[in-house]
């Protein structure tokens, strides 16, 4: 943690407790987690359910939620090191009920949900009893241009009828996923940013189909993963709209900001883990009579990784601070910057760790290939690098108008 940032004593104390919990309960159980998933892919691994009550008992629960009434009440800057620590292990975030996309969905419900919506969905989510998904991306539309979303939401009497196709819906294939927050077009005649609504669709509603799961570089990501969904004239009650019709784009934009920051924090943790694996490996592995750690190119790789990771972390903290002070709109550029910088950095660091592991680094014997796939996919997910660079460039050029 950066000494000059002065996190509150509480955040510092939480970080210590979290690190201890990871050491004691998470890392030693990772092998079990992998084995349980390998045994039955789309079943939630029991070890997570086992650890959740322990994490909750340790006060490490819903740390992401800035609302002190229902969550930990931490600022984004305070949460950052906690989120990074959780990102070190693919199994960790869920243990602390801090995994995407539920975190973003809980924030949306906490801020904009009606009392009924909160009771039905937010409560069980906060308890870690159910999971949820966020259905925005569509195959026909460049995800870099969200106003084009075509899934239709039509009011028919008291009900709303949803028709469309979505893909890359994370967590939708998890058997515990009980509700989808679906972004669709409710009024094509409205101004561009008022055309869409966000609605709550119970996953067991007639017409909701999980068509297939999508691999990322060969990884299905079970039991979470990404799914393609069909909404085939799905009918839901009219009160399942969040915040009101035409407010969908606005909610989505606000949700994406913190979501991107969290993604980057976790990915940073994952890259730090990869660097640790790299260092441990090269200290042990001997080739041509001396440990790999003595090779100059390996040492240069380690140094470059440390330098790049520290820079990426500082940029994330800058974005977190901007978000805390001015909200997602004000922090737009800072968030665009980390969205480009962090996945690229993580990907390079993890790739170096793979190379240092030799053939072992390519296969299921380490988390490295899956970690790399996660980093690579984040150069496309939530807006490709190109779109975020354009955001940054526009602002920079605008300074000289």
């Amino acid at each position: 943690m950066l000494p000059w940032l002065g996190p509150s004593p509480r955040a510092r104390e939480l970080h210590e407790r979290l690190v201890a919990f990871l050491d004691q309960h998470v890392y030693p159980n990772e092998a079990r987690w992998h084995a349980q998933i390998a045994e039955e892919r789309w079943r939630p691994p029991p070890i997570v359910e086992e650890l959740k009550p322990k994490a909750r008992a340790a006060g490490l629960w819903n740390l992401f939620l800035p609302d002190p009434e229902v969550g930990a009440g931490l600022s984004t800057l305070e949460y950052a090191p906690l989120c990074e620590a959780m990102g070190r292990s693919p199994m960790a975030p869920e243990v602390f009920n801090c995994s995407a996309p539920d975190t973003g969905n809980m924030e949306v419900l906490a801020r904009f949900g009606t009392p009924e919506q909160k009771t039905r969905w937010l409560g069980p989510l906060l308890e870690g009893e159910i999971r949820s998904c966020f259905a925005m991306t569509e195959p026909e539309v460049a995800s870099s241009d969200a106003t084009n979303i075509r899934t239709s939401i039509t009011r028919v009497g008291d009900a709303l009828v949803i028709t469309g196709r979505k893909w890359w819906i994370s967590g939708a294939a998890d058997p515990r996923c009980e509700v989808a927050l679906v972004l669709g077009r409710s009024d094509s005649e409205a101004p561009r940013h008022r055309r869409h609504s966000l609605v709550l669709v119970p996953m067991d509603t007639a017409g909701v189909h999980v068509r297939r799961t999508l691999d990322v570089f060969g990884f299905d990501g079970a039991p979470h993963g990404h799914a393609e969904l069909m909404f085939d004239a799905v009918r839901i009650p009219g009160d399942h709209v969040i915040l009101g019709e035409g407010r969908g784009f606005e909610i989505a934009q606000n949700r994406l900001g913190p979501g991107r920051v969290h993604h980057c924090m976790r990915l940073l943790g994952l890259a730090e883990r990869a660097l640790e694996l790299l260092c441990r490996r090269v200290r042990e592995r001997v080739a041509f009579g001396r440990p790999l750690a003595d090779q100059g190119t390996i040492r240069a790789d380690i140094a470059s990784s440390r330098i790049e990771l520290d820079q990426a972390r500082l940029l994330v903290l800058q974005a977190a601070h901007a978000l805390d002070r001015g909200g997602p709109q004000a922090a737009r550029t800072e968030i665009a910057m980390i969205k480009v910088a962090v996945p690229g950095t993580a990907r390079r660091v993890i790739d170096r760790a793979i190379q240092a592991h030799g053939a072992a680094g390519l296969c299921q014997d380490t988390i490295l290939p899956a970690a790399w796939a996660a980093a690579r996919s984040l150069q496309i997910a939530d807006g490709p690098d190109e779109v975020h660079r354009e955001t940054v460039a526009k602002l920079e050029l605008g300074k000289y108008e």
Copy 2:
């Protein structure tokens, strides 16, 4: 093809015929190939068996084999464009009975096998009736330093007994794989390059166990893939040694040279295919009102890809020519150079194609992620980049002694 290289009219004619065959029979059947594998992973896809007789009838069979008596009798330089063309489709090489590791194994048997070995194994391999594997790499030993191989081959009476563990044995899990060429240590007291022997082990011999398959970035590569094998006191007849005891390292080294050239040629074809997919995609896909093909960064990516691919191809041809003239030892540096250059180039080109495809480029909807994984793994397989760079550096520095 490079006009100044002047391939023989026969090679040119074969290339034309091969390209036509790919257009007519291979590309249109790729979807079926993927579907058949998805249906039942470790079964050879029927479509390949269907196409093999057609390829043979078209005179496109065993093109890789320089021996004109049993193969096409082409030089490496002549074979290069054919091999590249086959590399464009993951299903293609086997259709023409030109897929690794059988190609290398057939060469070994053709050159060094006894008449009995040829009858039993080379014949069926040349007919495309069985498949084979080459068991060299071991988990405990840095594969960059092959003289350390520990699997033991002990003479007991007339028989040989093999004990050890191998991994990354490509094709060993294919149900048609009937024989393994196993490199093991037969005499620890002999000079460093005379300690090992290469033996033929029928896969159904007692004590041969396929322990598991190894994923590469989440891809199992079925039905070919890579396996971990146990040789648990496997007993084979004494005449199953190839060329003689103590000659294993020598054969392996000679086999690796052309093998690396073939790998690079195929990978080049794959990267060319990726560039084609990129170009087609960006001409069709519209974002913010115009085709992606109009974006400057995309156009720069395309140009860089073309420039890098042409350079890589020329380097491969240079290596092929060196191999033809002086054999694997004389061409050692040229081969080391392509082994570094081609996977790096292919990886960059394929990665650009992925980015241009957006989320579709991450999943099973294109061959791109698997292609990328193939390129990435070749920076480690058959000697990591570091080892090949060292070969090149030593020679370069040696010029100024």
Copy 3:
């Protein structure tokens, strides 16, 4: 400036005043500065002498000096944005009496000088009346390994006799340079870090020869530049040692830490200036019917530059903070990290600005080529990247012992 860093109100106020001074007095006079140097290369340009009293009157004088009695009393973290702002113009640092190597020399004299040394040298330096140099690097010795320095300092009666050759001595050829701080070997038998002494050598002492000046990528850097010096049995009084014999290495090490931080800060300012020039140029310049600013590759360059510069700045602030808290030894890794990161970043950003300027970016019509040369040379000066990477790697690997 980073909002969360909370610089003291005084630092913030100084920054505002400094920026205003640059706008009013420095940028508008840069053309004159260049013209005056072109007119007579090794004469200090009169415009600087003209501006110095103005800067002093504005309270912008000796800002670098942490000692509040003689300097501004700012912490390194507080000084950082000021130093960066001065780095934006090659003529600026001297205007504020904040230019290297005098800043480091003044710090050394302020902390370790005797009253006589302070009166004779520190006073005039603080007044901006004379200049000084720091003579450490030698042509025969890898500068990455400073303990090998060979210039001899021999006690002969009450005097010290110095013999040796130094090069890359910045500012030694400036006609106002009146004193050199010379690092030499005073006791070859002492422990490795106690062998050297730092002595004050008036430049007009018999035996001190400026042999030639050294260009950096064709730039002589007049009137400051870098010189090669001969010390030919130079005799100085015995009381010209700083801090005591055998303390030279210790002083040099302590001096280098803040020196590197300042170098990086200034270089960051220069790179920011380059990015400004890039943006202004591409908004104005038209090719193929539209401003360069509309080209996608240019926009990507701008975004990457902003992202990389912000990361580099944050890393520098991290190092400044570490230096403030624990001193140069404790901040060794943080300083090594910025010494690698900042020149690399600056060089890339400036190079993009050059490319965007076309042929104009190659010649004397902009500061860009000289700025690039400054960035490039800092990848070697004060320790090559390789040495600093090694420092970082050692610490990182040490975490897992």
Copy 4:
């Protein structure tokens, strides 16, 4: 040289002779050459005049000229290795009367000149008695879009009057430069590629002013260099037009093709020289107790350099062959490719050599900084990388129309 290229025995023999001449007469005289230029910058160094008759006597004269009547009669592919060899030393090309821009000007005159033009200019140029320049680039016009050239050529009675400003005119400040080939606009109403004419302007004509010379990264390039020229109502006889009015653009385009190939060949030679300097340096220089040549990062740099240089050379040969077969228009893409690839490669290789030399690599003690500046400037001169990439991209995308 590439064995499979089969250069004619004559080309091979010339290459051997040229290499021997360089070893015997050129490299040993480089120090003198530098010293003579340092002594008096804009005077042609006498050593070159001394060597020219020797080169001519050795049959190494006007090798570039494909016309066998007046030149060596070599194809571009045959000339390539000779041109590369000359590029190894900055003083070499002129020794063999093969230096730009005279080579291009001689080709133009040989192909398109009238008998009078040939007698007056081509003769003395072929003898190496005078030099010439080619005045195309203008400061106001993006050089990437040559049809915009504004310098006016107006017919007034029998004479032509030229008015305009040109810059980056290589060799114009050389005292031996006696004639400029000037591209100007002779008919603004004509079709876009027929608007310009190419005229011969004796440098001593009234109204021709060399306004200043342009540095490239601090290097003035004396006695050759680059100049800014003013044509102030310069009056020349009407018969000084080459090929006819309106043919200027056509000639310029045809001239640029081979010119770019030659530039790339020479630059490759320079980069090879840098790699040689790197290797020699690291074998000799000791740091931390062992030669730099033992450091892994240095060895990786050497290997990467060799790999990249071989690829670049092969690409240049491909372009040379395309040029020989189809002329500049047909070889447009191949030439665009090398124009991007070679300077980038050369720059990387030279930069590594600089880093390996430490501070010595930054200054006038080696040719490396000037070599780097030459490579860097070629990413802009004769069309910036961006324009050539666009040429390549357009063709590549066109394959899928």
